[in-house]
Amino acid sequence: MLRIRQASPMHTIQDLGRYGFASQGVAQAGPMDSIASCWANSLLKNSVNHSFIEIGGGGFVAEFTRATNFAVTGAWGDFTLEGERLIGPGCYPAQAGSVLKIGRLNSGLFTYLAVDGGFDIEPVLGSVASCRRDFLGGPSGSGNPLSIGDELPYKASQLAPLKLIPRRYLDSYQIPLVCEVIMRNSDNFDSTATDRFLSQSYTVAKEQSRMGYRLEGQLTIETNKPRYSVPIPLGGIQIPPSGQPIVLMRDHQSLGGYPMIGTLTRRSLSLLAQRSSGKVVSFKPVKHDDAKAEFLKYQEFFGGFR
């Protein structure tokens, strides 16, 4: 069992998400940074859809009651196992009774923790992904985040040597991010609006959640307001009347009434998810064919990707 000793409302059980219920208004949920979560599972040779813990903002402590290998990826900082510092994103052996501390972060926002074979949690609507807005998923099935005293069952396994993610695969979460956007054919934006969106840089605003990230730029973007709500894709970029973009993240609502200027690629979305408020972001257009090729490369590399 993984016994939770310290947790926050940003610590949740996830898998790659809940599919097949969007038409009924159910959010897909899943990891904010799916590249990091897929790394965690694939280091352990799990399927990428095995359950894992998404630890937002650090401040997590848990005890492994059984021996297992565990992987820690994504946001990084002061992490220890039995007081010994973890040297980087990778998978580590843990003896029965050892304590993992995910302390203060110095890079990124979301850390991923997976164990051999995943956690044994009953899926709701085909997935264990926690979504508070929908009261679905997680250990109780009703969307709650992890809390102190929770015990997550897993199977004991043979300890394997430490393995790190090769450096060439690691992304910085600190440098200014150029997000790739699949632009949308839309009557709601004229060329001035599009130029402005693509030419200026934005900072990530304080309002960031699993539903969406707000961005702030010097110049606002003018749009026509559509009369009706339409389906929102994951990574969709809405322009509300304020003229400042909102990027829709994993727990976004299924329908929305603000016009959308484009959609982030899945890779850019993962990298944006790791940016805390004040970080600098800009946009560049990408062709769907190129974005799709990259997406399929990730699928092949990890044996699945969403």
Binding site: Y19, F21, G25, V124, L125, S254, M260, T265
Partner: protein, 234 residues
């Protein structure tokens, strides 16, 4: 009916198809045919779908499809005379609504804006059948329309932070039932007893789905309590 070129990739794995005018009957019948087809055939290339006001979005396995393949499939479904999977009996739904002032929180302000009396508002709201125009936003939520134009109102300037579950509300040319307590900017006219949606570990059972025909039936406060209690003891 042919969808022609109204399709675009909006992300690596998501296609968007324009089905037609947002609340036209032809559009609604297209959505109904397509969603019945998806439910029964479960195409291998399709991961999830969502519909809202004239726009269908399809999350697909991008390695398996092209835009023209998807258009061909959808056109094939639309060109069938009627939906072969449709279950006609389940289409008509009557929802009891108590329009008492303790539930119809905005009836008074609607009356002031529209210059209609409370009974007139209730008659207009309950006096016609509504079509489900779209579903989504949260599980069980359905947009119904169109309402009588005498009770068309823009959304409230300041949304309420909490609208009680079961509240029946209006805004613009539509009316809705809130499946659970959420924030919202619609004008509340009453409340239904019981619940508009239920779910199990494996499924969501929403009363209102695309193709449903809905009528609201006014009930008294006593009737509301009786129905509510019978639901509680289920």
């Amino acid at each position: 009916m042919n969808l022609g070129e109204r399709i675009q990739w909006i992300s690596e794995d998501t296609l968007e198809v324009q089905l037609g005018e947002p609340i036209a009957k032809t559009t609604l019948s297209s959505v109904e045919k397509i969603s019945d087809w998806i439910r029964s055939v479960k195409p291998e290339w399709l991961i999830d779908h969502c519909y809202g006001f004239g726009v269908l979005s399809l999350i697909v396995r991008p390695e398996l499809v092209t835009t023209s393949l998807v258009l061909d499939e959808l056109n094939g479904v639309l060109n069938r005379a009627t939906s072969e999977f449709s279950d006609v009996d389940s289409k008509f739904i009557e929802i009891p609504v108590c329009y008492a002032p303790e539930f119809g929180l905005d009836l008074q302000s609607i009356s002031e804006t529209t210059q209609l009396s409370l009974p007139e508002i209730i008659d207009l709201h309950s006096g016609r059948e509504y079509l489900v125009l779209a579903t989504g936003f949260v599980p069980g939520f359905a947009y119904l329309g169109e309402t009588d134009d005498r009770i068309h109102l823009p959304r409230r300037d300041t949304p309420r932070t909490r609208i009680p579950a079961g509240s029946v509300a209006i805004a613009e040319n539509q009316t809705v039932v809130y499946p659970r307590e959420t924030p919202g900017g619609w004008h509340i006219v009453g409340r239904m007893p019981g619940s508009i949606v239920s779910s199990t570990k494996n499924s969501i059972d929403a009363k209102l789905t695309m193709g449903s025909l809905v009528r609201f039936k006014p009930i008294s406060l006593d009737e509301f309590r009786i129905i509510e209690e019978s639901h509680a003891s289920d």
